[in-house]
Structures are given as structure tokens and as C-alpha cells.
């Protein structure tokens, strides 16, 4: 927290403390006992914690800071209730695991597959004429060519 902000927050506190003390003084002058005066002063002031918070909020980036506050609060709550945390974590873990398993099963057994066993190793063959004068030409390969290449080499795995 920056020093300016600290200063501002302490100004707010000073102002509010003085307000309440002065109300109490005045009520005592009016004839109330100290306890009665303190109660009455607090009642007419309203919720002091809330008022201070609302006053500080004016200087904050409300979205971001309340987001962080929410995250910190959530973590504290989780640490405070290990039973709930464990249950939630196990539920999530099981849910994700079952989901992933189901997906692999469905994908392996129920979804249609591309023909061929190993789709990563399917290639398109083209022939290139190295002496082409202007543009490098890329020609489709005929079946007889392919059969001839296959019988003379072992680069194709069928």
C-alpha cells in the first residue's frame, strides 16, 4: 500500500474517530451516562466499519481490488474447512477423470475413424521436374509410377 493511500486511510479514521468522540461528549453534556452516550453515538453514526470501508473504496480500483480480496477470502475459507475442500477436490478429480475416460472410450470405439491405420504417415506424392525452366512444376503421380517406385524401394510401408 502506498504511503499516500496509508495517509488517506488514516485521515478517514481520524475524522471518524473525532466525530464519534464529539457526539459522545455532547450527549454526556445533555445528561446521558458515558455508556448510554457511547451507545447512542454509535447508533446514530451507523456501521462504522462499513463506513470506513466505503470511504476507503473511493480511492481503490474497486474491480481489481475486490477481485483479489475475493480470491484471498476464498482461499482462507478453503483452508478453514478442510472437509469441504477435500470433498470438492475429490469430486472434481473424479469428475474430470471419468469424463476423460469416457471420451477416450467413445473416441476409440464409437466414433468413425479415417481409413488407414496411421493417419500421421499418410502422404501425398508429387513428382518435380528439376529442369523446369520457368516455374518449378509439381505433377501428380500416376498409379503405375507409384507401383513401380514401390517395388524398387522400401520407403513405402503400405
Amino acid at each position: 500500500m502506498s504511503i499516500f493511500r496509508r495517509q488517506r486511510y488514516s485521515n478517514i479514521q481520524v475524522s471518524i474517530s473525532e466525530h464519534i468522540s464529539e457526539t459522545i461528549d455532547e450527549l454526556i453534556t445533555d445528561g446521558l451516562s458515558r455508556e448510554e452516550a457511547e451507545l447512542a453515538a454509535r447508533r446514530s453514526f451507523g456501521n462504522r466499519t462499513l463506513v470506513e470501508e466505503r470511504s476507503r473504496e473511493v480511492w481503490q480500483w474497486p474491480k481489481l481490488e475486490s477481485f483479489w480480496a475475493d480470491i484471498r477470502f476464498a482461499c482462507r475459507q478453503l483452508v478453514k474447512t478442510p472437509g469441504f475442500t477435500t470433498t470438492a477436490v475429490i469430486t472434481l478429480a473424479l469428475g474430470i477423470a471419468v469424463n476423460a475416460t469416457m471420451f477416450s472410450l467413445v473416441s476409440a470405439f464409437l466414433l468413425p475413424h479415417l481409413p488407414g491405420q496411421d493417419p500421421q504417415h499418410v502422404y501425398v506424392l508429387s513428382s518435380v521436374d528439376p529442369n523446369a525452366s520457368e516455374v518449378a512444376d509439381l505433377n501428380p503421380v500416376s498409379v503405375p509410377n507409384y507401383l513401380a517406385w514401390r517395388s524398387h524401394t522400401n520407403v513405402f510401408s503400405e
Binding site: N11, S15, E18, H19, T23, D25, V51
Partner: protein, 114 residues
């Protein structure tokens, strides 16, 4: 404080308007300001004292007010709030827009009665 039937809540911006107007007369600390508004409004308006403070911070942030350290009558440290030049201009604008709003509402209510 239980809400009395003859008190009413404020519309938004009303508290700020009253703060600016009250501080135009003389710089005050929070307690004096709350008391001043209460007395001048003859207790007709329900101003929870605490709600003054967020409003003061908003006005400080907008540069309409400034505050400096001071000492209350009883010798306690406090903050004294005073109007800036910007606050003075804003007050004039707010008052005239409030007047227009009031005139509008009055006219509508008068028409409904006729």
C-alpha cells in the same frame, strides 16, 4: 436510528450537493458538517451521519474539496474540509441543474392535480 415516517431518503447526489453548499459558507470538520446539515434541514432529511464520510472522500477525489489537519473544539485531531475553486463551480452547476429538476417535478405534479 429507526426511520421516522416524516423523514425521507435522499436522491443520489443530494448529499454531495448539501456538503458542497454547507462548506461554501465556511470550512468545517466532519462532525460540524453533519450537525450543520441536520440543523439546517430541521431534521426533515434522514442523513445517516456515517454516510457523510464516503461522500466526503468522493468529493476529495474529484478535487472539489480539500482537507487539512485541524483541531476540534475539544482539542482532538481531525480533518477540516474546505471547498476548492472547482468545487465552487461544480456547486453552481449542481444547484442550477437541481433547480431545473425541481421545477420539472413540480410542473408534473401540478399537471396531475389539474
Amino acid at each position: 436510528m429507526p426511520k421516522k415516517a416524516d423523514q425521507r431518503d435522499l436522491f443520489s447526489g443530494a448529499l454531495e450537493l448539501m456538503i458542497l453548499h454547507s462548506l461554501r459558507l465556511k470550512p468545517m470538520h466532519g462532525y460540524a458538517l453533519a450537525k450543520h446539515i441536520k440543523q439546517v434541514s430541521d431534521d426533515l432529511l434522514k442523513v445517516e451521519e456515517g454516510s457523510l464520510y464516503p461522500a466526503l472522500q468522493r468529493l476529495l477525489k474529484e478535487g472539489l474539496l480539500e482537507s487539512e489537519p485541524g483541531i476540534s473544539v475539544k482539542g482532538r485531531p481531525t480533518r477540516i474540509y474546505h471547498l476548492t475553486a472547482n468545487g465552487q463551480r461544480q456547486l453552481e452547476r449542481e444547484v442550477s441543474s437541481f433547480d431545473r429538476m425541481l421545477a420539472g417535478i413540480t410542473r408534473v405534479l401540478a399537471a396531475a392535480e389539474a
